[in-house]
């Protein structure tokens, strides 16, 4: 596009066109004369929206969660019970907060499940993403690299409910039939490796959740890592090759150190996404509330998945206490995610302002 084509030939925009109705013309010329102010006013209002939305989100969650937090106490973070209590009328009060008799909530199993499944996801996703990014930037070129890059971007955009459907119907049963039994059988029977042994279940559980999460965060980490690798200048790499270094040595000693901080930042961004992922995990985890998974294959739950699966049954609680407890759970998740995201951005900023994608890699 060239400038001459876009600007009106008369240059001066005010009164460039003879208007038939004078009052309309005056309004138009006024608007044009003050167009800058209109842009600033509208832009300032719009730029404030995320700040206001963020503040309102925090306020609403805290306001709903506070009574539950007072009743549940700090105990909430370490206890392993999820009992709504008697929902047939018997209501009691603790510190002035109404709740059903026998209500007792502890979130440790879902907190542990969130951390474990995200840890598995990161352990799988980081090396795979780095390897794929290497293959894309250093090995392949031309149209094939373009096609594969697009495929990764598309994976980032596939709705999580579809990945969950595939995980629950295809991947989970496949792993439970053909992969988990092999691992469980061949793992040496040492106390340290107990976690990998035992019953393998039917494909819903910790390991499947971790693998599905890995699949969902790979696009984020891989596309950021690929951008980073592409920014490494060619001269040091060529120097390394001239000294007789192999590809592996060039990658390990020159390329990786160059972008290490950026990769750590990308991995932490991926971790944040894994911690907050809801629907896909709810479909493949087994949605357990009361127990920490006994081994790698056991059914479990995560905070985000619990929010979406329990809200329906929480309506049954006439005192609204279970809904408040879910809000408290949401506060825990949001606070953890804010810390993780902030850490990621600080790392990325330190790495020299490398532009990491906001959320998905698309």
């Amino acid at each position: 596009m060239d400038l001459a084509g876009t600007a009106p030939t008369g240059v001066s925009p005010v009164g460039a066109r003879p208007a038939r109705r004078p009052h309309l013309r005056r309004i138009r010329s006024l608007a044009r004369a003050h167009e800058h102010h209109l842009w600033v006013a509208g832009g300032r209002a719009a730029a404030l929206v995320p700040l206001v939305a963020l503040a309102l989100t925090m306020v609403v969650l805290a306001w709903k969660a506070w009574p539950a937090a007072r009743v549940n106490g700090l105990h909430f973070l370490v206890a392993s019970t999820w009992k709504p209590g008697s929902t047939y009328g018997a209501v009691t009060r603790t510190d002035g907060v109404a709740h059903p008799v026998g209500a007792s909530y502890g979130a440790w199993p879902v907190i542990a499940g969130t951390l474990e499944s995200s840890l598995i996801a990161i352990v799988i996703a980081v090396p795979v993403s780095i390897g794929a990014a290497f293959a894309l930037t250093e090995r392949l070129g031309g149209w094939l690299a373009g096609v594969l890059r697009t495929a990764i971007e598309i994976l980032a955009g596939v709705p999580s409910v579809i990945i969950g459907l595939w995980g629950a119907l295809t991947l989970g049963p496949l792993l439970a039939n053909d992969v988990y039994p092999v691992i469980a059988r061949n793992m040496p029977d040492l106390p340290a490796l107990r976690f990998f042994k035992g019953p393998v279940g039917h494909g819903e559980g910790l390991a499947t959740s971790g693998i599905v999460l890995a699949l969902m965060i790979i696009p984020i980490i891989a596309s950021t890592t690929r951008t980073l690798f592409a920014q490494v200048p060619a001269l040091p790499k060529e120097g390394g090759e001239a000294l007789g270094m192999t590809d592996w040595e060039v990658s390990r000693r020159i390329t990786m150190p160059w972008v290490r901080a950026g990769i750590v930042g990308a991995a932490v961004l991926g971790l944040a996404r894994a911690l907050g992922e809801t629907i896909a995990v709810a479909m493949v985890s087994g949605s357990l509330l009361n127990t920490v998974a006994p081994n790698l294959y056991g059914t479990m739950g995560t905070i985000a998945a619990t929010l979406v699966t329990q809200l329906d049954s929480a309506f049954v609680d006439g005192t609204g206490f279970e809904v408040r407890t879910l809000a408290e759970l949401a506060v825990v998740l949001v606070v953890v995610l804010l810390l993780v995201n902030t850490a990621a951005r600080l790392i990325v900023r330190r790495a020299g302002g490398i532009a990491a994608p906001v959320g998905t890699g698309a």
């Binding site: 876009t6 719009a46 971007e153 459907l165």
Partner: protein
Amino acid sequence: MSSRRRRIADWAFRVFTVAALVAVVGPVLWVAGGVVARAIPHWRWTVLTTTTNGASGGLLNAILGTLVLMAGVLAIAGTVGVLGGVYLAELAGTGRRGRPRGGVLRSATEVLAGVPSIALGLVGYLALVVQFHWGFSLLAALLVLSVMVVPYIARGTETALRQVPTAYREGAEALGMPTGYALRTVVLRSAVPGIVNSLLIALAISGGETAPLLYTAGWYTGTPKAALFHQPIGYLTYPVWTFWDYPSNQAHYLAFDAALILLVLVLLLLVAARLVVNRSQRHAEVRQR
């Protein structure tokens, strides 16, 4: 280190990178192929023309509902996100030491992008659906979805504007254009492909979301009504999420059909977004010559 060991390490590394690439790209094909393979054998075209009846029937209500939601998100989040991005890139000005201002606003946008969608959905439910007595409603769903995608659009717009050459702004100023007029006709026009790209991606995200809609939009088996309040609305992710583990084949087929339609819709949007960027890049190369 012996040269033999070095060679083996190098070979292992090469194999690993290619295997990693396969591990990344393979699942894309597997997921897409899996959805197609489950949906096609039982596909009926009446799915597109009839509404849901219990856990069987068609998906017309869900398709129209998703399109209505997308249009609403485009109107609300599109306006807010583009204006916000324009402000951050062009109008916030520079503060002391020549640093761009608006740091707090930009940080808030990034933090908001990190809040999980289920938390936003829960807030929408607690505040809009219950406290404001809106009930499951179109407006509650639109506001939650918009808050969710505004950061993407604002970020995309800001990035697109920052890539417009400074010479364009200087040229416009030298021609005596008023600032606002130059912004609209010269700077923004050059950034249109980048902005459209971020809008299309935002539409793909909002079309594929489930968690924030379950407790704000509810679910409705009739075609969407022209009402903002007290009227739930259907959407394509609901049948997948709800019907996939129902104990009936009809329900399963409906879930697979919904997944296929959703996948096609989202892929079309993502490919369109890609094409817009590719075309603009071709333009950019021509321009530089």
